[in-house]
């Protein structure tokens, strides 16, 4: 039997292969990872515990533990969505995505920290404290799936679930130097995933490798009677194997990558090196135009808060979570919500309520939905000429803790390159492409490369990402530390 440290160096697909080959048992794998989770000093986990996964032969993921973002309902296990208002809540059921993983034999490895109700790009909006980026503990891991990204990057979990509404899987994956996949809207059921902005929310994996993302996607995808917007994928996802990009066409949108959009010099360098690499692998790089994409952030910060203001109306102190007592019903609602929600959640509820209120609906909400149509049309037109659209995932590397908390707008702009794909409902992946020094100096940090595909183009997307990943040969943090140890 290999030592725990050796098990914890494996990717999910390697782990499964090791179990199939009889090198170690599911129970040994689960035990090794439970130990890794317990050593968390990043505040990546809100609940530490292990459920299932140790039984031999319970499914093809037997022995694989998956860390679950605390936005997924897990039966009998605390689920807070990073909010005080749900402190102590234990759902009576599990999310479909989680259920599909456990039915395939996977284990549940803790619940991960996150921005409250998935609203944030740094994990600093969690009611339970921020999360450190394992590359540099004075910096943010990104958000909102910051706990999931930090856990995988920091070697505390082999893989994790996240949710992405405007970039919440891809951006933290980029800032932590791992792989993050946001599937097509509707690929995976949203049942049991606590709602933020229902027309945008989508579940996806954060993993060490592209193959791992494919492995988890295949288990979770599919139609679900309990989510009428879920459609699944047309064909089962296979583990990607491409090693070249012969004839594959990649489009670079000037509107998201141009000189005036605030992309850091180091991030731009890595992006351009990756474009050269695409050409070395036989791919073609062309310019494309997405004329409305730069308005994505504006449309998003109308639509997402509008939907959130409606979705979060349910937290009223009546059926679950926190209640702050008062003499009459309306005061009870108001006190509960005022004490239970943090500043960013209140800000977005206010913004959304305003945008939907009488007299403003047409100017904000209706107009934003039209922008959304235009952005989707822009992508459709671009995909006539190229197979994929590529951008840096985040305009910056991981920024220092506290650097953007006083300025909500600067935080929102972290999602500049990821929001347009969310609005269009198309799949996009972030893979680590290299390292760059932050503008204020200090050790080099990971840079993510985003690849977006047409709706339901996940298999092709994973193949391209895999070929690029193989060629880049990015050394993950756990691999660097493994060598140093």
């Amino acid at each position: 039997m290999p030592a725990s440290e050796e098990i914890c160096r494996l990717s999910a697909t390697e782990l499964i292969a090791g179990i199939e080959a009889g090198s170690f048992s599911p129970a040994e794998s689960i035990e090794a990872w439970a130990g890794a989770m317990e050593s968390d000093d990043l505040n990546a986990f809100l609940w530490k515990g292990v459920e299932g996964g140790a039984e031999q032969g319970s499914g093809h993921l037997s022995g694989l533990p998956v860390a679950i973002k605390d936005i997924f309902c897990t039966s009998g296990i605390p689920t807070t969505a990073g909010s005080r208002i749900l402190e102590g809540y234990k759902p009576p059921y599990s999310a479909t995505a989680v259920e599909r993983l456990t039915e395939a034999g996977a284990g549940l490895l803790g619940k991960t920290n996150m921005d409250e109700f998935a609203m944030g790009s740094s994990n600093e909006n969690s009611a339970y404290g921020g999360v450190s980026n394992p590359w540099d503990r004075t910096r943010v891991p990104g958000g909102s799936s910051g706990g999931s990204a930090a856990a995988v990057a920091g070697g505390l979990a082999p893989c994790a679930l996240g949710t992405d509404t405007g970039g919440s899987i891809r951006q933290p994956a980029a800032l932590c130097g791992i792989v993050g996949l946001k599937p097509t809207y509707g690929a995976i059921s949203r049942f049991g995933m606590i709602a933020f902005a229902s027309s945008l929310d989508q579940c996806g994996p954060l993993t060490r490798t592209v193959a791992d993302a494919a492995l988890l996607l295949e288990v979770m995808q599919g139609q679900d009677q309990r989510d009428s917007t879920s459609v699944g994928l047309e064909a089962p996802i296979e583990l990607p194997s491409s090693t070249d990009l012969d004839g594959v066409r990649f489009g670079v949108p000037a509107e998201l990558v141009g000189g005036d959009v605030g992309i850091e010099v180091g991030v731009r360098e890595v992006f351009e090196q990756t474009l050269s690499r695409i050409e070395e692998l036989g791919g073609e790089v062309a310019e494309v135009t997405l004329p409305h994409a730069a308005h994505g952030i504006s449309a998003y910060y109308v639509l997402a808060p509008a939907e959130a203001s409606s979705n979060l109306a349910r937290y009223d102190g009546v059926r679950y979570g926190l209640r702050v007592e008062a003499d009459d019903l309306v005061s009870m609602y108001e006190r509960t919500r005022s004490e239970g929600f943090g500043p960013e959640v209140k800000r977005r509820i206010m913004l959304g309520t305003y945008a939907l209120s009488s007299g403003y609906y047409d100017a904000y909400y209706a107009q934003a939905q039209k922008v959304r149509t235009r952005i989707a049309e822009d992508f459709t037109a671009a995909f006539q000429g190229v197979d994929f659209v590529v951008t840096p995932t985040s305009p910056t590397v991981a920024f220092p803790l506290g650097a953007r908390t006083q300025d909500p707008l600067s935080m929102y702009l972290s999602d500049f390159c990821t929001v347009p794909m969310s609005l269009a409902g198309i799949p996009a992946i972030s893979i680590p492409a290299g390292l760059a020094a932050p503008p204020e100096g200090g050790p080099e940090l990971p840079v993510g490369f985003q690849i977006a595909a047409p709706a339901f183009g996940e298999q092709d997307l994973l193949e391209a990402a895999h070929a690029l990943e193989m060629s880049i040969g990015f050394q993950r943090l756990d691999q660097r530390e493994g060598e140093g140890a």
């Binding site: 009223d316 019903l329 309306v330 934003a368």
Partner: protein
């Protein structure tokens, strides 16, 4: 962009009671955000269909088969007031 009075009105609609400090801060922050967001109102989008759903979908039906609902006491267990033995969710009187 947005003034204190409007912020107070929206807070009432959203069932939030804001402190003086919060009110001031939110007024300033929302104004900044709205100023940025406002840029889309300058776009000429006459005749563009607003998005209602991002993936083409028609109504989907499933067989109308009753399934077991979670037991009442399990659901009441999660409520902040009362316990599994309560007759329902307990709230203060609206008229109090």
């Amino acid at each position: 962009m947005i003034d204190r009075e409007q912020v107070r009105h929206v807070a009432r609609l959203a069932r939030l009671s804001l402190s003086e400090d919060e009110e001031a801060r939110i007024t300033e922050q929302l104004s900044g955000i709205l100023e940025h967001v406002e840029k889309i109102s300058a776009l000429d989008l006459n005749g563009v269909e607003p998005t209602t759903h991002v993936i083409e979908l028609t109504n989907r039906f499933r067989p109308d088969v009753p399934v077991e609902a979670p037991p009442r006491e399990v659901l009441l267990e999660a409520a902040p007031e009362g316990d599994g033995d309560s007759a329902g969710f307990e709230v203060p009187s609206p008229q109090a």
